[in-house]
Structures are given as structure tokens and as C-alpha cells.
């Protein structure tokens, strides 16, 4: 039976009419994982990915030969990285400029390998790639050892909350697979990562160019009894949605399409935690309005009564209420840790050439909310002391610097800490039209703490003075006026 295009706006098929609903895709690998490859420039990231593609036979037929032939014609030495550096500028300069999505399959699952650039100038591209990943490979060149971006990328992974990390120590063929070289680098880097609370699952001695310990164990490293790179990747896990977690959904938009006599007002969004069902009572934050779910809407799908985490869904409400895009829906009967706040403490990175400074207005985007934000405080600049990030002055966050900051918003929004919920606990800052920075929320902060701390007794003294000089406006009633109603001062 063909479903075909249906024109009915609210077309609903019934469970019986959907023979393939819920069936596992025919490729036999229902899972997909995004992994980012990071590390300093020239440490061999693209070579590692090129080698993984070649050794898992994931390349299109003739691609390897075509690149080899092109090299021969132009008198260049073949590099596996040439399989990936697709832009003309990249091939000319021999470096990766922008993150590439590369697809390959193992017996376990499909992968998107995100080959991130290692040059500091392209940090924004590295971050764009890494923010899509659930696991990371950090590549270190055995000859150069731990370099500036080995440390910086480690810091950024911890900032992005990527906890599944493997460190690959590359180019060991140049040291005839000397165990002591491997251990020395491992020790140094492990100590650094520990300071960031990043705990790699493994350190692997490899030669990407020679294909050692990439998909098959290398006889050259008999002293290494651990897993190959591919085995480690296959051992990583996608985060599993917690079935009993609280429900939360940023309201992306409200639709009311009037053509074809469609009367529905649909509240649409992507569920970022838990589940919601028809009949549940929901609350919109920060407005506090409440309503009951009347129906879960879907086109060309079986009738739905539940919407779960990760689903892009929409529903109608029993009581049509006014709600704006950017609010967050929670269930009334759940104690969701979603808070309403207009200040937040965050770890963030700044990527724009114009530093993050005080007294300037930015646009903060979090969930579906957009709100004006200002820098209130830079608590500290993050990074290694040997790193140039530590040089940035505390009155601004310069390009590529990371810091702990406090931001103040023009109005309250609904959010959580990153630890409570990733989607409701991360944000970007837009400066004019420039996506300038991003970060994760350590904690939403209460409004009161923002008021400057006054010396003890200041308020009383001030009030006495006011009553003395403005007796007509501050009559002696024996009690202090409510500060909220004294706006006429």
C-alpha cells in the first residue's frame, strides 16, 4: 500500500495503515554517531581520517587511484589527507580550513567523522565541528609533542561537555615505535587533561600514514596491548535519553495556517527532555500560563498520543493561550529543574575579532529564546598559563579566549544549567550580525545578588537623610516605606 502525498492538512493514518512504521532501516545499522577529530595543525588529523576511510573500504571506487594519479601528475607526494581537504585553497596550502563531514560505516554503526582544522585561525570551524560531536579523538604528533592547540582543543572539549575522548599519539614510525616517546607524551598530556577534568578512555600509539593500530593491531608495538582506534570508536556510546527525565520543550513557533479550513493552532517545537502525553497539563515559562494538551499533531503518521525527547512535534491545547516563541514548556505535575532567571554564570569562548567587553549589548540565543545580554563580570580567564589565552586582560575576552563570566539579560528566560540539560544550558552570543561566542551555563543566578553590596546601615542612614530633607514625601509613619513602592524618589 502506498501512502503517497496527502493533501489533507491534518492527515492522520491509523496504526494499521502503516506497515513500515517503527521498522529498523534496511541497512541493518540503525545507529549513527558524530565524532570530531581534533589536535594541533599538521599533527595528522586528516591523514588519520583518510586512513580510516581507506582501511574500512569506505571510499568510492577509484577515488584513491584518482588522487594518487593527480599527485604523480603534479609531482607531489601522496598524502591520505588529500582525500579530505576538498576545497581548492586547502589543497593548495596543504592544510584543513573548514570542518568536513566524512561518512563511514563500521560493523557496529554509521559514523560522521568531523575532520576539524588544527590551525588556530580556524578555531571557529573546529568548534562548529566539535559542537556536533558526542565523542572526540585528540591527535598528537610524537615529534612535536603536546602543542598549543593540543591543550586548547582539550580545554574546548571540556567546555563543550564532550566526555568521551581518546588520545592518539601519531607519527611513532619516525621513532621506530619507541615506547618511551609514547609514554613521555602520554604522561605530560594526561596530567594536563586531568586539570580540565577530561579523562580519556585510552592513549593509542599509531602511525596514521602507515596505518598502524588504526583498524588492525600493529606488530611494531608489541608493548601496547590496548585497542585500535576503530575498536575504541566502536566502544563509544551515544547518550541514551533518560526515560523518566522531566519533560521540557522550547516553544519554537506557533502555527495557525488558515488555508483548507484548517482551524488548528499548533504549538511546535523539539522535545529536549522527557515525554509529554495528551491530557497532560503544561506550564509555559517564564510567562507561567498553563493549559492542557488536547492532541499531538503529525502529518502522514499514525495517531500519536505521546511525544518524546528528540522528536520535532507539535500539539493543540484545550485552552488556546497566548504564548510566544522562546518560552519553555514543562509539566505542571513535575518538578522540572527549569528556572526563570535574568542572570547566569557561564563558561564561554569568544571567537570574534571584537573582544567581549562591558557596556555593550549582545544578543543571547538559548533554546528558542533570544534576548539582549550584557557582560556583568569576567570571573577568570581559563586556560593553561603557558597558553596565550592567559594573556587576555580581565576587562575583556579576546578572540579565542575562554573565560568564566556572568551575563545579565534584559528580561528573564527559562533555562537550566548545562549539567541538568544540555539543550537548555548552552547559548551563543551574537554581536551585531556576527556569531561571536558561545558557552555553557554553570548556573542560573538570582536577581538580588546583582545589587551592589552596600555598607552596613547604609539604607537606614539614607532613609533618615531623605526624611530629614524631604519630610513632605517621607512622612514619619513609624515604619520604613516598602522599597518597591518608593519609586517616586
Amino acid at each position: 500500500m502506498r501512502k503517497g502525498w496527502s493533501n489533507a492538512a491534518g492527515n492522520r493514518r491509523h496504526e494499521t495503515g502503516s506497515p513500515s512504521a517503527g521498522r529498523v532501516a534496511a541497512s541493518g545499522t540503525p545507529e549513527r554517531m558524530n565524532i570530531v577529530i581534533t589536535g594541533h595543525v599538521d599533527h595528522g588529523k586528516s591523514t588519520l581520517v583518510g586512513r580510516l576511510l581507506t582501511d574500512t573500504r569506505s571510499l568510492p571506487e577509484g577515488k584513491l587511484e584518482a588522487v594518487r594519479n593527480a599527485c604523480e601528475k603534479n609531482g607531489r607526494v601522496f598524502e591520505y589527507s588529500m582525500l579530505l581537504d576538498a576545497l581548492e585553497d586547502e589543497q593548495k596550502q596543504g592544510i584543513t580550513i573548514d570542518s568536513a563531514r566524512v561518512f563511514f560505516k563500521s560493523a557496529r554503526r554509521e559514523y560522521i567523522m568531523i575532520d576539524a582544522p588544527g590551525h588556530v585561525e580556524f578555531l571557529r570551524n573546529m568548534l562548529s565541528g566539535a559542537s556536533r560531536a558526542v565523542a572526540a579523538v585528540l591527535v598528537i604528533d610524537a615529534v612535536e609533542g603536546v602543542a598549543e592547540n593540543s591543550r586548547r582543543h582539550g580545554l574546548l572539549l571540556s567546555l563543550l561537555g564532550i566526555s568521551q575522548v581518546v588520545v592518539v599519539i601519531n607519527k611513532l614510525d619516525l621513532y621506530r615505535y619507541d615506547e618511551t616517546v609514547f609514554h613521555a607524551i602520554r604522561q605530560e598530556y594526561e596530567r594536563y587533561l586531568e586539570s580540565l577534568d577530561v579523562k580519556p578512555v585510552a592513549f593509542i600509539p599509531v602511525s596514521a600514514r602507515e596505518g598502524k593500530n588504526i583498524v588492525t593491531p600493529a606488530p611494531e608495538t608489541p608493548w601496547y596491548r590496548g585497542k585500535t582506534v576503530l575498536e575504541i570508536l566502536d566502544g563509544f556510546n551515544n547518550p541514551v535519553p533518560e526515560e523518566d527525565a522531566f519533560f521540557a520543550m522550547p516553544l519554537q513557533d506557533v502555527y495557525r495556517f488558515s488555508n483548507d479550513n484548517d482551524e488548528r493552532r499548533i504549538y511546535a517545537g523539539t522535545v529536549v527532555s522527557g515525554r509529554v502525553a495528551v491530557g497532560d497539563r503544561v506550564r509555559f515559562l517564564p510567562s507561567g500560563r498553563e493549559a492542557r494538551i488536547a492532541s499531538i499533531e503529525a502529518w502522514s503518521a499514525p495517531v500519536k498520543t505521546v511525544a518524546k525527547m528528540h522528536e520535532s512535534t507539535g500539539f493543540t491545547l484545550v485552552e488556546d493561550i497566548y504564548a510566544k516563541s522562546g518560552e519553555v514548556l514543562v509539566k505542571v505535575d513535575e518538578n522540572a529543574p527549569v528556572q526563570t532567571a535574568s542572570r547566569l554564570q557561564a563558561n564561554m569562548i569568544w571567537l570574534s575579532g571584537n573582544p567581549l567587553t562591558f557596556g555593550k549589548s549582545y544578543l543571547l540565543k538559548l533554546g528558542a529564546a533570544k534576548v539582549e545580554a550584557r557582560l556583568e563580570k569576567i570571573e577568570r580567564v581559563l586556560g593553561d598559563a603557558r597558553d596565550d589565552m592567559a594573556d587576555s586582560s580581565p576587562c575583556a575576552l579576546n578572540r579565542n579566549a575562554c573565560g568564566s563570566v556572568i551575563l545579565r539579560l534584559a528580561r528573564p528566560i527559562a533555562l537550566t544549567s548545562f549539567h541538568e540539560n544540555a539543550s537548555l544550558g548552552r547559548f551563543v552570543l551574537v554581536d551585531d550580525h556576527d556569531a561571536a561566542g558561545g558557552g555553557i551555563v554553570l548556573a542560573p543566578l538570582p536577581e538580588e545578588a546583582a545589587r551592589p553590596a552596600l555598607p552596613e546601615g547604609f539604607e537606614d542612614t539614607l532613609f533618615l537623610l531623605l526624611r530629614k530633607y524631604f519630610p513632605h514625601r517621607f512622612p514619619d509613619t513609624g515604619k520604613r516605606p516598602d522599597p518597591e513602592s518608593s519609586s517616586s524618589i
Binding site: K3, G4, W5, S6, N7, A8, A9, G10, S20, A26, S27, P30, R32, R57, S58, L59, P60, E61, K63, A70, A86, L87, E88, D89, Q91, I97, S99, A100, R101, V102, F103, I112, R124, N125, S128, S131, R132, Q252, D253, Y255, F257, D260, A268, T270, E297, A298, W299, S300, H310, E311, S312, G314, S325, S423, R426, V428, V430, H433, A435, G438
Partner: protein, 292 residues
């Protein structure tokens, strides 16, 4: 949720974000499988509605079945369909068939037709579903943004695209200077006069597209299937530059089999597309100038 359901949800999120962010937005529909999946996802995103124009660039050299399929679907789904064409180049015989090289022909009939249809400087043909009639619009409003079904696994420069990707006033793409794009917090704020390409399918592979077509039973154009002659199209374009592949796949399940373990396991999808073959960087050059 399996990977296909995740991809679907992610793409719907992007399409909704695009619709929310731009006043005058359209969706490119090449009649091929990817942009037809995109149309399907739009109907999912907006609960049966397609709240924007679909734009087709007609080179006049499209495989004939494509135009018939296009018009049939537009009428059936009551789509607002906009068709653009480089009428002048066709009249002056500046095409590959008339002796121009492939790259220059793509530039004329596709890139230029697309750019000038989008910015409203060339006339658009418009199918009005309410009146069931075609009409001509001489000076139309420019689109601020278009949703395009390109995928990362098709070709190198597409593997480096952003989901929300800006083009400057001359429709040019600066591939080496793209802004950061963190998580799904897409930057939807752009300077005036910027034109934006939105790419909801970047993380889909050719295999994922067919897995979704099979799961959803999407009626794609039948030239993708063997009609009995042992040939079918794997990728659709203009007939002088696109050849069918030898294949007896008669339905999406057969095609998935071919891609997973069969004859096309390691053969590039666009291997039947001649414009990709004239030296390295050709498609990138076209894309920098405004090609999709």
C-alpha cells in the same frame, strides 16, 4: 529513536527555524529525490501545509519526465510553484548542446537562472494553485533565503557547508571564511541584503535518503527505478550531461540493497553527472558563484 528518525527530527527543526527567521523564503525543488524528501519534510514540519514557494530552475534540457512529474505534484498538492529560466541564453543558443563547454552551460542555465530568479530581476513563471493557472511575474520581490537539499556526502565543498550559509550581494560563497555554527543554535541574524542558503539535509547520506523514502513510502519520480530496460537514473540532471546507470533496482528496497552490499557499495552517486568530471574543484567553482 533510530538514526533516520533523528535525522528527520533535526531537519524539521531546521526547516521550522528557517521559516521563522526569514520574511521571504522559498524552497528549491529540483524534482530529484533529495529535494522531494525536503518537500515531504516540509509537510511534516508544518502539519500538511507548505507555507512557502517552491522554486524550480528549468534549463529546458531536463529529463522530460521531470517536468510532467513536477506539474502533476504541484497541482495535486496545491503548491505555489515558481519556475525560472535563462530565456536569453536559450534564445541565443549559449548552451552545451550548441557548443558551449559544460561548465559555462551550467553557469548560464543553472547558476544565472537561479540567481536572477531568486533576486527577482528576471521574470518568474508562477503556478497559482487557487486558480490552477500559470502566470508571469515580471518584477518579483527577492527571496531573503532559500532552503536547499544539498548533502555533505555528495561532493567535497558540500561537506564543508554550514546549515545556515550566507551569500553576499553577488550571490558568492566565501568557503574559507564561514562563521561559527554551534550546536543547533543557528545564526539567523544577517546583515541586510544578505542572501541565505539553508541546508537541512547536510547530515543525510544517499543511503539515508533511500531508507527514509522506503520508510515513509514517498512517491518519488519513477525514473529512479528500472522500468524494464535494465537502466535507471541514480542522480537527476540535464539529459545531455546525465546518464542512467545499469541497474535492475525496481523499488527503494532494491536500491538500498545496491548501496549497502550490492554493485554501488563503493561507487560515487554523481558518477553519472558529467559536470563533476572536468578537473578538480569544478563544482566548488560553480558553487562559489551561486550554484546550489
Amino acid at each position: 529513536m533510530n538514526k533516520i528518525e533523528r535525522l528527520e527530527a533535526q531537519s524539521i527543526f531546521i526547516i521550522r527555524e528557517a521559516y521563522k527567521s526569514f520574511r521571504n523564503i522559498g524552497m528549491l525543488w529540483s524534482i530529484g529525490k533529495d529535494s522531494t524528501v525536503l518537500l515531504w519534510l516540509a509537510k511534516k514540519a508544518f502539519f500538511g501545509h507548505v507555507p512557502f514557494d517552491l522554486i524550480h530552475v528549468d534549463t529546458r534540457y531536463k529529463i522530460p519526465e521531470m517536468i510532467a512529474y513536477r506539474d502533476e505534484i504541484a497541482r495535486k498538492l496545491k503548491l505555489r510553484l515558481v519556475v525560472g529560466q535563462n530565456i536569453q541564453a536559450l534564445a541565443e543558443k549559449r548552451t552545451f548542446v550548441d557548443g558551449l563547454d559544460r561548465l559555462a552551460c551550467c553557469r548560464e542555465l543553472k547558476s544565472n537562472a537561479l540567481i536572477h530568479t531568486l533576486d527577482g530581476s528576471w521574470p518568474r513563471r508562477f503556478y497559482d494553485p487557487q486558480k490552477d493557472a500559470w502566470m508571469e511575474i515580471a518584477r518579483a520581490e527577492p527571496y531573503n533565503a532559500v532552503i536547499v537539499g544539498v548533502r555533505s556526502d555528495e561532493e567535497g565543498s558540500r561537506s564543508k557547508e554550514r546549515v545556515f550559509s550566507a551569500r553576499d550581494e553577488k550571490s558568492e560563497w566565501d568557503a574559507s571564511a564561514q562563521p561559527p555554527e554551534l550546536w543547533n543554535l543557528y545564526k539567523t541574524e544577517f546583515a541586510p541584503k544578505t542572501h541565505v542558503r539553508v541546508h537541512p539535509l547536510l547530515e543525510w547520506t544517499e543511503l539515508n535518503i533511500w531508507e527514509y523514502i522506503e520508510k515513509e513510502e514517498i512517491p518519488v519520480i519513477p525514473v529512479y527505478f528500472d522500468q524494464g530496460a535494465g537502466k535507471r537514473y541514480r542522480s537527476l540532471g540535464c539529459y545531455p550531461c546525465t546518464s542512467p546507470v545499469e541497474s535492475t533496482a525496481k523499488n527503494p528496497a532494491d536500491i538500498i540493497e545496491e548501496l549497502v552490499s550490492g554493485k554501488f557499495r563503493n561507487v560515487a552517486e554523481r558518477s553519472g553527472r558529467a559536470q563533476d568530471k572536468d578537473g578538480g574543484g569544478t563544482l566548488e567553482t560553480l558553487r562559489k558563484e551561486g550554484y546550489m
